[in-house]
Amino acid sequence: MGSKLKVTSRAASAIRHSGPAFRTVGPDAVAKALGAEALPREDVHGAPISLHALRRQLEIRVRSTGGRPSLEGATKIQKIPLKPEDWSRLEELAAQLSRQGVSATAGQVASVILRKQLELLESATAGHRRLSRQMMKRATRS
């Protein structure tokens, strides 16, 4: 059996983009022009992760350190039971993202989706707790 390869050379330094930066679009100006209310996405409870957000998270978090690119911060490798069709869908998503230039495995796609859903659940639970406290206060006052 072969032994594990170890990369001993120095890691390459980060690439910095020094070209002109594109002008960013401020949310307040856009909201005013659209007759809309601007809300940070993280404040919108229950919003599902979009393919764009998924791609963006993977672009930010998948890092190459010499070996297979890994998902930053995802250090726990855990067996999670899945339906075969769900795994197939994750593989399709990974292939779709790969065609768009974002290289990620089906497991990494699953990890990002799972994290987002856990954050949503946490914020929804916090909202319910807040509402319960307010109702309890009102009930004790009357």
Binding site: T24, V25, L34, G35, A36, A38, L39, R41, E42, R56
Partner: protein, 58 residues
């Protein structure tokens, strides 16, 4: 209905009145409770929520 598109900032800003016209007409004519446009960039993602629609050309 979800449409994704990449934007060029100057052209996007120049076409905001047309986008306003489309989003409000869409909400009005299809009787939506809410119409949302999402804009994502390096600084994060924003939802633009429209609950009240203009009167259009009326």
């Amino acid at each position: 209905m979800i449409i994704y598109t990449y934007i060029k900032p100057e052209r996007f800003i120049a076409h905001l009145p047309a986008l306003l016209e489309f989003l409000h007409r869409f909400g009005r004519e299809t009787d939506q409770d809410v119409v949302v446009a999402e804009l994502s960039g390096p600084e994060g993602s924003w939802f633009f929520r429209i609950k009240e629609y203009d009167e259009g050309g009326r």
